[in-house]
Every structure is written in structure tokens, then in C-alpha cells.
Symmetry: C2
Subunit: 378 residues, 2 copies
């Protein structure tokens, strides 16, 4: 029996069975798409991985309440984080879900909502409400408009897809993401929606999804800032034959990790003002936890990231950042190798010389353009 | 009885009794002064506050061993951190202290050593050794040369002085510092030497110095990076009448805090590429510890500091950074006020609305120039 796997090119993806997408401009942003919708009319098993920031958006608060329900719709807006304005905006957020539910003839509790954009500026709920009928009418007109609707300072839409066939068992996994700034392990101004038609229990999906998120979205850093809105959602429509074979389940796991990883890397490549994509491989740690901590310390060092912009193998800054994170290293055991320093994709291989555990992740350099972009963004 | 206090202008300071200073160029750097010396031939009670980074320089390791002794000399070099090269460099560092001790006819254990500059590049011990005779010969030729000898990317020497007279009791406190990059609460690429001729026990000095350091050097942030070399040294030559009156001791405490604070602020003002000096006042915290943590979270947010460069009151980034630090705030209780946003000295007043504790500190903005400077520094 053979395993077939297809990787589609960016911009050419398959939608899993049971999902229908839309994206429009409703007026939160000046011109570009700012309102997106995923509908799964027969319901989907859903999971959400959320930011560890303790100040979170009203959208996230509502979604956290609904996430254990049978999910039939997910609405997303960009241009406004719907965060830290007035407590009464929580109720307005719920009402948007209610209006959408009425339009789609479903229940409010079956709706998820996500927002991304500036914090502390009141969201124009009126514009979203007016946008709901045209949004629902444009359902099914293509995922491109949806992918665009969730962007902020991103320079390109981020999506990828895998189709798997193991004997009779066939399924699709498709993911969408947005990133750009405030990206830090622990999830940041980042939204990702992973859709699949696979028939998989919530429990099994949770195990696989948690590992995939850890290896991808939680292993990237753009600027060390953790946002109030970050969420990764998984929706499984259960439209294909149940996954029974261990081999099929394994293929699903691999494809899920690939989709998450590809989206995560796109987020780093599109990091605000970034000129280099940096892979950091840490080995020789005493534990997996220490290897992750070392990766996070190195990838969030502004000084090292500035050195990368200058194509300068300043490994002393790695030593300093590790020490700041409490990781003591020895001169005769530590090594740091820089590969392709002058190219767009740099690899830094660090051996802590303390043990046998390893971890890897991705970040980008910091550039004068990053500072200029964030000086003006409001 | 009146308290007389004189504040000298920058560049015009008094040296406390019992100290003699020197600074020369020995060849670690291309042109500028790179070797400095403080001699206190009758000995001084000494204290050291060191970086919390676990990877520290050989100089710091040696000084930590000697700090409890009667200190008669302190040698400092700039241009090289003397850190993370070869373990055998620890012995070479000790030998420099030994050579200096021989020249000055004191013991090796009475010598402190401090270094600042790039990490991981072998220090030319030979050049320092050759520099020792001319260094010792130029002792007493003025503190200006000493102040210059400890600089790296600093754009001006940092020193300040206070003279106190309470009745018969009279003493001087004089401090020197260097800063520029890698500045973060917890001490960073920062060296400071505070000299006084006051007769004060090590125990009393420790209590006062610890508080002064906490309010000054530990309340500033330039770039969130903690260096391998940071140290603040206090040397008390005991040359004046013992401090007996509570009032004199209080004047000493105030003057000590002022000297530390003035040096700390100079470090922030001279932060690499900085265009703005930012005072952050946090109030309404549940504890002093929480107030400090809030200050640290806000001052180390690259996004907020970029917004300050853009003169943009993006308080949403304060909300996000507080949440990242685990400090949950309420929309109806939290306030953030920006004052003089368009001027060189900005004040941000944050009320967490959680309790009655407060803390304040200083940082600078992040600019394209900071990135350029650190892209090239090696």
C-alpha cells in the first residue's frame, strides 16, 4: 500500500471537505480586506491554542468560552485587536457572534471570533454588522479573499495545504496564518487556522496539534513581544472516512506538522522589516526544556539579531544571552557556527556542550526598517 | 548646624582623600585611552555588585575573589571584555594583578580588575603588562584620563561628585561610569566606580549602597541585554572623621544615591543610538516587586521603544508588555499618560490600578541608528 502526498504551491491549495470561506472589505481598514469567515455548516471539532499573555482581547475571551462546542463558523477581523477598550465591548463582541449566527441560522455558541490589529482602539462593531450579509453571500468564492482578510502589516497571504491518501483513507489539511510583528514563543500577534476534513477525535487531534504547535508556532520569534490576541485554531469537519490505520494516523501527524511548520516559517520570513531568515539549532543541552530556553534566549537577543543584519558572526552575544537565561557554558565545550552569513537564509548551530538534548527554531534579523515601521504603526 | 552640599558640574569634580587616578592608551584600542587605574595606597573598604549573568568575565571572577580584602588598587581596561576565550586566561588575568601589585609594592590580593568591550576575543595581556609602568607613573595627573580609559561606544565620559559638610564631618563621594549598550536591570555592559573618603563600616556602606544601586543602576534599561561584565564597585578610603551623627549619615546616604542616580541617567542618555531619554513611573502595583516587574516589562518592550522614537503614544504596547509579564490590568482602572512626547525627555506615567506600590526608572528609545551601530560592532 502506498502513501500519496501532494504538496501544493503557495496560492494553489485545496480546501478540506465541509468548509466554505469568504473575505471582504467592511471598512475597519481603509481599503484592503478586513473581514473573513469560515463556515462549516455540519459542525467541526475544534481546538484553540492561545497566547500566554494575561491581558487578552474580547474576541479571544469569547472564543475561549465557545471552543468546546460544535463549531459551525469562525469570523475574523483585521485592523483592530478588539482589546482593552471598554469591558462592555465584550458584550458587543458576543452580539456580533449572535448576528452572524442568526444570518447563518446557527447558534451563537457555535461561533468563534478572532481579531488582529491595534490594541486599545474601539472596534467599529457597526461596520462588521453591516458587513455580515455581503460576507455570507460571498461564501465559497475562493480562499484567496479569506487569506487576505486576516492580514495587518504582512506583505503576503500565508497558506499551505497537504492531501494525504493511504489506501482508501484520504484527507486534506489546509492552514492559513498571519504574523508580522509581536512574534515570540508563547504565541504572538499571530493567527492561524488549520482546517481538515479528517475524521479524528478531539482527544487525538489535541495530542497531535499540541506537538505540531510546539515545534512550529512556538519555535519562532520576530521581536520578543507577546501579543494579546494570538491564537491557533484547529477545525476538523469529520467529512472523510475515520482514520483507522496507524499508518494513516502517522501520515496525518506528519502532514499536520508540515502545514504548521510551513506557516510558521512564512511568518518569520515576513517578519516586519526582516532582511534575513535565521534558523537556530541548539544541541548539547541538559534537557529538552533547557534546549528550548536556550533557543528562546538566543532568538530574542536584539543585539544578536542586529549583528545578523550586519552579517557579523558576533557569537559573544550568544554567550551573553545564554548567561542571562541562566545557562552556564564552558569555553572548551561550547561552539557556535554561522553558515551562509552573507545570504538571505542563515543557519546558526550552537552546541552548549552540557548534555544530549536539542531544539531548533526560527527568527529574523532586526533592521533599521523594523524600527521605522514600528515607530509609525498606530 | 547647617548641611552644606556642593554639586559640581560635569567635568569638574573633587576626588575624595586617599585616591589617586590614572588613564593611558596601551594598545588594546587603536587610539583612545584603554587602561585606567585607581590607587588607594592606605587601603579601602570595598564592595562589588555584579551582573546576574552566569557567564562572566575572567576579570570579574578575579575581583569576586578579592573583593573582601583591603583594596589598594583597581585596574580597568576597555576595548575587550576578557570573557569566554580560554580558561587559562583566568590565570593570565591574575598575573596582571600580580604585576601591578609588584609595581605598586602591594599584594595581588589587594587588587581588583574590571574589563569592558567585546566578548570572546583574546585580550592582549602583553600590552597591558607593558602599559603598567607608564600607567603607574601618570598617577595623579587628573581624573579626566581615567574617566576616558573605561569607555567603549560611550560618546562622553561619565562622572559626578558630591561634597558634604555636616558640622565637623566632611566627606566627598565621587563616581565614574561607562555604559552604552547591553544595559538592562540586573546590571549590564556597565562599569561604575564610586569612591569616597568617608569613614564608614563595610556593613553600613553595604546597606546604603545596595539601596542606591537598586534605585539607579538596576532601574535603567537600554536594550534588554545583560552583559557578562557589569559591576558597580564602592571604595571607601576611611580618610575623614568617622561618621557619627545620624544627620551626617543621612546626608551621606542622600549624596550616595544622587551620585549613583546621576551616573545611571548619564548611561541612559548616552544609550547607543538613543534619541530620547524616557522616564517611566509605575504606580498602583500590588507590591514593590510587581511595580519593578512592570517597569522592567515596559522599559524592555522593543515595540514601545520604537513607538517612542516615532513619538507615538502607543499605550497598547504597554498593555501587551504587562500581560506578557503576567500583570493583569482592567480597562477601567489602568491609565497611561505620555508627557513631552515630541521632546527629548519623555515621561510615561502608568497606573496599574491594582494597589498602592510604585517604582520608577529610565530607558531610551530604539532607533535605526541603534541597529546600525550594533550591526557593525565587533
Amino acid at each position: 500500500m502506498s502513501v500519496h502526498k501532494k504538496k501544493k504551491k503557495r496560492g494553489s491549495i485545496n480546501l478540506p471537505l465541509g468548509f466554505s470561506l469568504a473575505g471582504i472589505h467592511c471598512g475597519i481598514k481603509r481599503r484592503k480586506n478586513d473581514l473573513g469567515l469560515i463556515v462549516c455548516k455540519d459542525g467541526a471539532k475544534a481546538l484553540g491554542f492561545f497566547t500566554k499573555n494575561v491581558n487578552v482581547s474580547y474576541s479571544l475571551q469569547v472564543s475561549k468560552k465557545h471552543i468546546n462546542n460544535n463549531i459551525k463558523a469562525l469570523i475574523v477581523n483585521s485592523g483592530n485587536a478588539n482589546c482593552f477598550t471598554q469591558r462592555s465591548d465584550y458584550v458587543k463582541t458576543l452580539k456580533i457572534c449572535q448576528s452572524l449566527a442568526q444570518t447563518l441560522k446557527i447558534k451563537t455558541e457555535n461561533v468563534l471570533i478572532a481579531s488582529t490589529g491595534i490594541i486599545g482602539k474601539p472596534l467599529s462593531f457597526g461596520r462588521i454588522k453591516k458587513g455580515l450579509p455581503p460576507l455570507c453571500q460571498s461564501l465559497g468564492q475562493g480562499y484567496q479573499e479569506f487569506a487576505k482578510s486576516m492580514l495587518t502589516t504582512d506583505t503576503f497571504p500565508k497558506m499551505t495545504s497537504r492531501q494525504i491518501k493511504v489506501g482508501e483513507e484520504k484527507f486534506t489539511i489546509t492552514g492559513f496564518a498571519k504574523g508580522a510583528g509581536m512574534i515570540q514563543p508563547g504565541l504572538a500577534t499571530m493567527l492561524a487556522f488549520i482546517l481538515t476534513d479528517a475524521s479524528i477525535s478531539r482527544k487525538v487531534l489535541y495530542g497531535l496539534a499540541r506537538e505540531a504547535v510546539e515545534k512550529s508556532f512556538n519555535s519562532i520569534s520576530v521581536d520578543g513581544s507577546m501579543s494579546t490576541n494570538d491564537s491557533v485554531y484547529f477545525l476538523a469537519s469529520q467529512k472523510t472516512h475515520p482514520i483507522k490505520q496507524a499508518r494513516a494516523l502517522n501520515s496525518f501527524k506528519v502532514a499536520l506538522e508540515e502545514v504548521c511548520l510551513e506557516l510558521a516559517k512564512m511568518i518569520v520570513k515576513d517578519g516586519e522589516g526582516a532582511s534575513k531568515f535565521i534558523t537556530i539549532n541548539v544541541k548539547g543541552a541538559r534537557s529538552k526544556e533547557e534546549a528550548k530556553r536556550a533557543f528562546q534566549a538566543i532568538s530574542s537577543s536584539v543585539l544578536l539579531r542586529a549583528a545578523m543584519f550586519g552579517e557579523n558572526p558576533n557569537w559573544g552575544r550568544i554567550v551573553a544571552s545564554l548567561g542571562q537565561a541562566g545557562i552556564k557554558i564552558r569555553e572548551d565545550k561550547f561552539t557556535a557556527l554561522f553558515k551562509n552569513l552573507k545570504k538571505k537564509e542563515v543557519t546558526i548551530s550552537v552546541n552548549l556542550g552540557r548534555g544530549h538534548y536539542s531544539w531548533g527554531g526560527w527568527c529574523c534579523d532586526i533592521t533599521p526598517q523594523y524600527v521605522r515601521l514600528n515607530a509609525g504603526y498606530s
